[in-house]
Symmetry: C2
Subunit: 426 residues, 2 copies
């Protein structure tokens, strides 16, 4: 029998206000294609920060703190509650030509939940804080989820001082200083596991599960592991006209077989919940009249099940050995990233599910196949994520879209989950 949950006091979020803020924030960094360019430390990032600080200060009366890695924290000054805070938030940066929901929705939904509770004079046991993290998306400094990597101690000052913008050469230290942070103070920014009661992030699903099922929200059970390797295929560059088939050692033809072997992983039985992609290829000399001599591929393999990952890699290795032997080509594989899957906290999963059920939604559970700040936050506190339906599953592109009704439902579920967590968390 399903547990019945009653959220006693019903505080209604103001979805019109939330939509209005989403549209306002989306103006910052909007490009001529309708996409949003708001990458880390760009003028649009800085403008978005200014706008957000203004919103939190003026509309919500919050005190805004910029920590050493330039994460923005909105807190009630001198909050009376004696418990550790519950933190809500996400990030405001985007990929190049990104959409208006990824990140921004999580920050502004946190803002809306906080404001609704304030307007209704709800007294919580935990202080409720809002946050917008620095540099969550892949960026020109080649480090994603930057803000939470620092908070959770995954990146230390020694790592940070080495990082430079790959296009401009600007140091990360200078860039963070432009955002109001101070990398030299980073050791003080690290959060210990005692400092926060729980963290909750709302995000568009970035997949089609909710959209295809026409459901609104889901609680995330686990954030996928991400495994990457660089596959270097060395054949022999040679003349495209004069080299017979038997003398060819075509690196691109071999790479083509590797790409198809990677795709085949997803076709194996029991491999539905694994994602395997070659997203990047570089061929040398890459000219029309020369047989490619080398091809370098980047493999991205994701699953929340490390057993399946091992199985997939074994199968791939077998396939690659056959390709190399048959084509007299050398294939080298080099680990590039091995980020373990990160389960979300069960009490937060439950609170989200209970709140969803109380709002007439299914108790839907999903694995997140994308990385998120919540995965880093889970290292230092009870963390959880609420997914909202995204039309056609679009993300990281101007087509990202979630309609107001879905957003309103999700915000209400989040607000109610916060109320449940306020009572349930220590």
């Amino acid at each position: 029998m399903q547990r019945k949950v009653i959220v006693e006091n019903v505080y209604e979020i103001n979805s019109a206000r939330l939509m209005c803020r989403l549209k306002e924030l989306a103006k910052i960094g909007r490009n001529k294609n309708g996409g949003i360019d708001r990458q880390l430390a760009t003028p649009a990032d800085i403008a978005a920060r200014k706008w957000l600080i203004g919103c939190w200060q003026k509309d919500l009366g919050l005190e805004v703190k910029i920590d050493p890695i330039a994460n923005l924290w909105g807190k009630v000054p001198n909050a009376g509650n004696c418990k550790k805070p519950i933190v809500l938030g996400s990030h405001h940066d985007t990929v190049p030509n990104g959409g208006m929901f990824d990140g921004a929705l999580g920050v502004l939904m946190a803002t809306e939940v906080k404001q609704t509770l304030q307007e209704n004079d709800v007294e919580l046991l935990h202080p409720l804080e809002v946050v917008s993290f620095t540099g969550e998306e892949p960026n020109s400094f080649s480090v994603s989820t930057l803000g939470t990597k620092v908070l959770s101690g995954r990146l230390q000052i020694d790592d940070l001082v080495k990082i430079k913008d790959r296009y401009t050469g600007e140091s990360l230290q200078d860039a963070i200083s432009r955002l109001g942070g101070d990398i030299m103070q980073v050791p003080a920014a690290r959060l210990d596991s005692d400092s926060i009661a729980g963290f909750l992030e709302c995000h568009i699903e970035q997949g089609r599960h909710l959209f295809d099922q026409q459901e609104s929200v889901a609680a995330v059970t686990c954030i996928t592991g991400i495994y990457r390797e660089i596959i270097t295929i060395t054949g022999e560059a040679n003349h495209a006209g004069t080299t017979c088939l038997r003398n060819r050692r075509d690196a691109l033809a071999a790479a083509s077989e590797v790409c198809l072997a990677v795709e085949d992983i997803m076709r194996c039985s029991g491999m539905e919940d694994i994602a395997a992609t070659i997203g990047r290829i570089a061929v040398q000399p890459n000219t029309s009249n020369i047989i490619p001599g080398t091809a370098v591929l980047t493999l991205d393999l994701r699953t929340a099940d490390s057993g399946k990952r091992r199985q997939a890699l074994e199968k791939l290795q077998e396939g690659i050995q056959k390709i190399a032997a048959r084509r007299h080509i050398y294939i080298e594989r080099c680990l590039n990233l091995d980020q373990a899957e990160m389960p979300m906290d069960s009490s937060i999963i439950e609170a989200i599910s209970d709140a969803a059920a109380a709002n007439g939604e299914k108790r839907r559970l999903l694995v997140s196949m994308a990385g998120h700040d919540a995965a880093n936050m889970a290292r230092i506190t009870k963390a959880g994520m609420l997914f909202v339906q995204s039309v056609d599953g679009y993300s990281h592109c101007p087509q990202e879209y979630t309609n107001e009704a879905e957003i309103a439902k999700a915000a209400q579920v989040m607000l109610d989950a916060v109320l449940l967590l306020d009572r349930r968390l220590a």
Copy 2:
């Protein structure tokens, strides 16, 4: 019964002198990898021209003419013979990081043949001229066999004035002017079919036929047709983690199948003498965590048999339609180059074969699967090519190598072929 040919007067070429000149010229543009960078209009091109002019003037007493497209012509001043000239030569430019034989050997063998005949006071019926053509190799002005395209009228002044260096933006007009030419005078450079009795070019084979058979020389029967198209594959860029297999429209996976279908052309029965290559690929957005949305390939298809080309393209179209339909992907093919095969002149093929036989070599015939200036010259005169063995078939790379004994044999065959042609040509 094989025809017996006797070359009455035996004039021996000086292979030591030829090797010495090859090594001297190879110093110009030599890079730290041991390769040669002597692309069109670079300082090394200019230095090589200066060296060559010096050699022709001082060692051979020739008058050197620079025509409007900056081809270098070495002629005997006031030659008494009344017939049209026989022209020998090739080009002195190289691909980036090229070898020391491609082009240079043809120019210096022409020089050696001319000098040997002069030293032996051989009186020919035809004036014998040497030539080094401008910009035969692919270059930053995106035009190969430039010198002979102008001579044969394939490129006109209107085309030439539009061409710019894709890196520096320098106009071809300025570059040619730095080489001593004058694009505005190009109409005068065009040769009519009455002006030359015959053209003969020696070149390394650039394939392995002669090397694998341990033969020295071959007469070229035909220069391959080159057909190129740009294949644009449009799928949908999407998140590498959150997009299930059934929702993927992966442009790189589709491109992989296209690459393998292109390679398969060469495996079809009767398709031994066709070369099909994808040498170039560009994927967008080409980043590790996004499924490729578009892939652009360049197909290079070569054969001396236009029927086989038609057959290959039909088969490819069939394969591509299946790939596009199965993957719900759009594949567009766009013609980029359609250069017909160019048969060499039968009297020159015969002269080379006869000279080879007279020197104890097989009457070997080969198709050239690479393009050459001789293909353009064949539009305005009787043209032919002599191929020399190249170790392992290397070309366009520092490993290019032909040993002195092979070069000596080839030079002797060329000299004897010139003696035969002098008597046989009008």
